[in-house]
Amino acid sequence: MAANRKVDKVSGVETTGHTWDGIEELNSPLPRWWLWTFYATIVFAMGYVIAYPALPGLSGATQGLLGWSSRGDIKSEMQLLNQSRAAMRTKISATPIQQVVADADMRQFAVSSGAALYKVNCVQCHGSGAQGSKGFPNLNDDSWLFGGTMEQIQQTIAHGVRSTDDAETRVPPDMPKFGADQMLTAEQIDQVTETVLQLSNQEHDQAKAAAGQQVFVEQCASCHGEAGQGNQEMGAPQLNDAIWLRGNTREDIRAQINSPKLGMMPAWNGRLGEAATKELAVYIHSLGGGQ
């Protein structure tokens, strides 16, 4: 090496020996403090490797003397988070829901917390925007099977509908299978379908609708009401509005009369607790359809 050392004549500095178009690259000296800083980073890196997880092995990385792990960090952060929320949670679960909403702090906490809980537990059926889908109610609108006040919403969330593991669950009477169980003839079903279409001001056959009126009064009105206004006590859907859980076409309605699909919803009290169902109810109520 020393024999190959080249020195630039003008500056007196050693060159790297690399030449481009006759221009040689100088190997200018580094200041020593700079060099020592570089050494210091190497020493720091060694300490880091010993103190923290660093070297990969067959079944995982070395643990490091400090025992630090990112999972541990998350765990302790979550603990801190839950601790910081514990006081508010306790307060909310002990406060009637109307007072939760009246208090600005509690309401804000409940709406934010409810939104987060919704995204984890409810989106699977009701959709990420709470817009629902066929058979799963839209929670934004002003139509409620079991009532749209905060207490009613919380009741539905807490105990569910037709839930098998909750004694207080809502148990609406099952709608009969008018066609499948041959309670009505095909013609009668055809006629009462037109009657239902007429109730909600949709396109229908006048003659058939009039003919189906009798069947409607005998078979349907006891739950859905004389004018099709529905009954929230029984969870019987309103038929004279623009909102249809299982579709508003002639085929949809006929299929439902023939062999109805029945909804169910799990009870959430046991899984999430009092405070969480209250927060969810406040959140759902705030989506615009609450009463």
């Binding site: 500056s11 050693e14 623009a242």
Partner: protein, 517 residues
């Protein structure tokens, strides 16, 4: 009386003269520089600039500015916690940060302008590294004496005296460093409150950490590393040097009148040799804070502090020669004068070509002229600088202090209500950017049969609702717009959401879309 008895000669060596003196090692230890004290016009200018810049830095956070009860009364405050920037009568919200960006662009163009005229003036006069190093040097001279005394003390063995002056010097340096770091944090919180909390140990950790870091950097950069920061760490010399042209003023050794330099001019003259004005007293080297010899020509290490000009002028005055052997000079003038001195052919400089018999300089030599300030390049920079400044001023004076932002709900886009109405949801942000409470009238405009309703405000319904907004705050609302079924049109309909203040007549509109599936 000979020249040599009139002036002191410094046995000064330019420690940073390129890499020439450093031998062959790949790693070079810093060589200490002991800049000699100097007096003169540029030194006075530098003291003045130091006083002004340090004064601005330390005093600004303590200036008060009354903004009423709903806003802080600190004249200059960067309030990260509340996301506001206050500058006297101006208040800036985060989305208005482009004003600050505009200032930075102006600073950049201003730097181009200054550099094209007077070279690296930023480096030499107003860079914090230069200002604080100058301050640290002044403190050093107070304790250790001037150059020669400093060198003697540095070479002396450790004694009680040396230890005590060293401790005193470093202690004062650290006090200055703490004051520097301390002043910084006051820009980010109410200064008197923070000062009290800081002193009583109640300030947030970040305040102590910031002061600690800035104290360390000030002490290390200003006291220990000094010119090393400029030479090795700073990209500025590389950038600024590239912005010079041949009409820029740079600190220049006028070798066309200085060479051949001679320590014994009388003796040389007696021998019939021609000598230049430079008496090789090394005063310019001794005063240089970056340890270079300006007579080697332009070099990266030169921060153009002009102290060598002061030093040389002092010598020239003493020996009765014209000033400006070292001067701010343009490359164009220098080349012209050089051509005169060498007679047009590169080679030896003949002092007689530029000097009269009595030693004065001949006519026909070019010297500093104000005309170099006015040339296309500087005019373009000046024009750009003024245009940006006026543009920003216009936007600042006509900006809105009431704003509305609307975000259409995406999921669900539209909801059918039981009566067949269609409802769209919008997240609306009302910005009251004034430091007083206001009632903002929010209304829907242009969508027939539509009404507003607001989540959590059951009483607020209709085509227009009044919404109180706290001073200097943003109020976020979830607004529902419902349109009766008889007016509903499939597809997208444009309409306006409007926020207005009935008292100030301020108004802001947002063109929103109503979606019907």
């Amino acid at each position: 009386m000979t020249v040599t008895t009139l002036i002191d000669r410094d046995e000064a060596r330019a420690v940073n003269a390129g890499a020439k003196a450093k031998g062959i090692s790949l790693y070079a230890a810093r060589e200490k520089i002991f800049p000699k004290a100097v007096s003169g016009d540029f030194r006075r200018l530098k003291w003045l600039i130091m006083a002004v810049t340090l004064g601005i830095y330390y005093v600004t956070p303590w200036l008060r500015w009354d903004r009423g009860p709903n806003a802080p009364d600190q004249a200059v405050l960067i309030d990260f916690a509340h996301r506001r920037f206050y500058f006297f009568f101006i208040e800036i919200w985060p989305q208005e940060f482009f004003y600050v960006a505009g200032l930075l662009v102006m600073a950049g163009v201003g730097l181009f302008l200054v550099t094209s005229v007077v070279g690296r003036a930023w480096c030499g006069y107003s860079c914090p590294q230069t200002v604080w190093t100058d301050l640290f040097l002044a403190i050093e001279r107070f304790f250790d004496g001037d150059r020669n005394a400093q060198m003697r003390l540095d070479a002396a063995p450790w004694s009680l005296h040396k230890i005590s002056v060293r401790i005193a010097k470093h202690a004062i340096w650290i006090v200055v460093a703490i004051a520097t770091g301390g002043a910084w944090i006051f820009y980010f919180a109410d200064a008197p409150t923070l000062a009290y909390n800081f002193a009583t140990g109640q300030a947030p950790f970040i305040a102590y950490a910031t002061v600690a870091v800035l104290t360390a950097t000030t002490y290390v950069f200003g006291g220990l590393m000094r010119e090393q920061v400029c030479i090795y760490m700073c990209p500025w010399p590389r950038i600024q040097a590239a912005m010079l042209d041949e009409d820029s003023l740079v600190v220049t050794y006028n070798d066309w009148r200085g060479e051949p330099r001679s320590r014994g001019s009388k003796k040389a003259a007696a021998q019939g040799l021609e000598v230049g004005d430079c008496v090789d007293c090394n005063a310019c080297v001794a005063v240089c804070p970056t340890g270079i010899d300006i007579r080697d020509g332009q070099q990266l290490e030169c921060i153009t502090c002009a102290l060598c000009i002061d030093a040389c002028n002092g010598i020239m005055d003493k020996i009765g020669k014209p000033r400006a052997l070292i001067s701010y000079s343009t490359l164009r003038d220098y080349s012209h004068n050089m051509a005169m001195a060498t007679g047009g052919t590169p080679g030896a400089i003949h002092p007689s070509r530029v000097h009269a018999a009595d030693g004065s300089l001949l006519e026909g030599l070019k010297h500093f002229n104000w005309h170099i300030f006015i040339r296309p390049r500087t005019l373009i920079y000046m024009g750009a600088w003024c245009a940006i400044g006026l543009g920003m001023l216009y936007f600042l004076l006509t900006r809105d202090r009431l704003q509305v932002n609307v975000l259409h709900d995406r999921n669900p886009v539209a909801i059918t209500l039981s009566d067949g109405s269609i409802r769209n949801g919008y997240t609306v942000k009302l910005l009251n950017m004034m430091p007083e409470p206001r009632t903002i009238t929010f209304s829907v405009d242009g969508l027939p049969g539509a009404t507003l309703s607001i989540a959590d405000m059951p009483e607020a319904t209709g085509r227009s609702v009044d919404i109180p907004v706290e001073p200097d705050k943003l109020r976020s609302l979830h607004v529902f717009v419902s349109q009766l079924p008889q007016f509903v049109q499939k597809g997208q309909t444009k309409f306006q959401l409007q926020a207005s203040d009935r008292q100030s007549f301020e108004k802001d509109r947002y063109e929103a879309t109503f979606d019907v599936p």
